[in-house]
């Protein structure tokens, strides 16, 4: 086994699986918290009398999603849906939320305790990846990799579903870097900006996002951006051979190229 095909480090495997569970809990408890006030605003303040740029609601038994001026009927999924044999007027349906029936207090408990796992895990993993060289060696692309010609070639290979099996390709590196160093830190910071106590302690949070309600909107948009990453991540996993890849993320051992999965 040459250096290039060395498997995932223990820190990577641990963080990956802890995050998988933490992401699941944070996303679904977050959707329940959103259900308590399914309207999003820009700026510092925003409540029922103020204009919302996004709203999920129900009107005369029909569920709707409105973004700006555009409104679509979402009956059965968003705004009004069926859980445990009953129709509920909730923004996100019971199958997408923790807990599955409306309980803001409990959703907050899930969210605000698991958020600590996300934040501490992120800080620990990013810090350790800097120390052990994972960031520099495996994630930061080399200059030649980000050359336009190579990026074009890599995109072409992706379109032909031809993925390298022994190393991270440049698109993969960029995606992981953006998640690790941009999306997840912004997720933590926009979450903290919704805390009135943290806004007092770190007033720069409000300046960074341009207000608490903007931070809430950003938090929502980032959550769905991460869902998008997860879907692509899972699609790539299926295309690249899930058995070997999932095994490698569990055991740290990697199969040699051509050995199935």
């Amino acid at each position: 086994m040459s250096g290039a095909v060395a498997g995932h480090r223990l820190s990577t495997r641990l963080w990956h699986w802890v995050n998988a569970a933490v992401f699941f809990v944070l996303l679904m408890s977050g959707l329940m918290i959103f259900n308590a006030h399914p309207r999003l605003y820009w700026g510092e303040y925003g409540a029922d009398y103020d204009p919302a740029w996004l709203e999920i609601g129900a009107d005369a038994g029909r569920g709707y999603l409105r973004v700006g001026e555009v409104q679509i009927d979402t009956t059965g999924v968003l705004g009004t849906s069926r859980t445990k044999g009953r129709v509920w007027n909730v923004a996100f349906p019971g199958w997408a939320t923790i807990p599955s029936t409306y309980d803001l207090a409990l959703a907050r408990r899930w969210h605000l305790s698991f958020a600590w796992l996300l934040a501490l895990g992120l800080a620990g993993y990013a810090g350790w990846s800097l120390v052990n060289g994972h960031l520099r060696r495996d994630l930061v692309p080399r200059a030649a990799e980000v050359a336009p010609g190579n990026l074009r070639a890599e995109i072409g290979r992706h379109l032909r579903l031809d993925f390298p099996r022994d190393r991270y390709n440049v698109l993969q590196k960029l995606a992981y870097l953006v998640v690790l160093l941009v999306l997840l830190p912004l997720m933590v910071l926009s979450g903290l900006t919704m805390s009135p106590s943290m806004d007092a302690t770190w007033p720069w949070l409000l300046d960074l996002f341009g207000g608490r309600q903007t931070a809430r909107s950003v938090h929502f948009i980032l959550a769905w951006t991460l869902v998008g990453f997860l879907l692509v991540h899972l699609a790539m996993l299926l295309l690249a051979g899930p058995v070997g890849r999932v095994g490698a993320m569990i055991t740290g051992r990697r199969r040699a190229p051509g050995e199935g999965g």
């Binding site: 925003g46 009398y49 199958w95 899930w110 009135p196 106590s197 058995v243």
Partner: protein
Amino acid sequence: MARLLTRRRLLRGAGLAAPALLLAGCDRLGASPSFRDMVLGSGEWLSWRVHRLIGANALAREYDPAEMSPRFRTNGNTSPRAPEWQRHAAAGFADWRLAVGGLVEGPRGFSLAELRALPVRSQITRHDCVEGWSAIGKWTGTPLAEVLNAVRLLPVARYIVLHCADDFGGEPYYESIDLVDAFHPQTILAWGMNDAPLPLGHGAPLRLRVERQLGYKHAKFVMRIEAVANLAATGRGRGGFWEDVAGYDWYAGI
């Protein structure tokens, strides 16, 4: 080959079943009081302690008049049913008195005029509801610290409980805060809002403003303030109405 197929089938099965199982598992765990309090309560405890460690004296942002919400919605009860409050409201709170007692050296009452005679503070701050909305308004009132200094806390006092005139289904509203928040300069007993007397719907004659916590901590229709050593003997023992009946976190700084 057979082994590979089995593993692949196993993975696919797990992939499909995992979300449903996890969701059902989360519902069951959340319904367990010990998991709820000990595991999921750890986040609240950690946030409270860390916030006190890194920013016990930090001030909430104060805004310019131009940044205020055009219209500040009310929330919770807007007109208590208690006959005593109704009588005072009808009389314009002329002979209403705030009772301050518990673990203090000199328990006494304060009329609105007596409260106004103490140092006054005005602040334009953002009110953040636990549900997610925010509104910015101007609050004028007497710092809670001034009232507590006037009655002198006993050394064993650890929390300040605010007893309110309103109730939900006969269960009275109350809230409590620690002494860090009680003596914080922006923690005021507000009798004015947006340069007018505090409106009935916003908690007249007196409401708490505890600017670094969420809306449900800002008790409205405050009738009595009590200094206590612990929260066990008040209400159902969790430090507030919503904490008692719905499991909301007592520390609502996040």
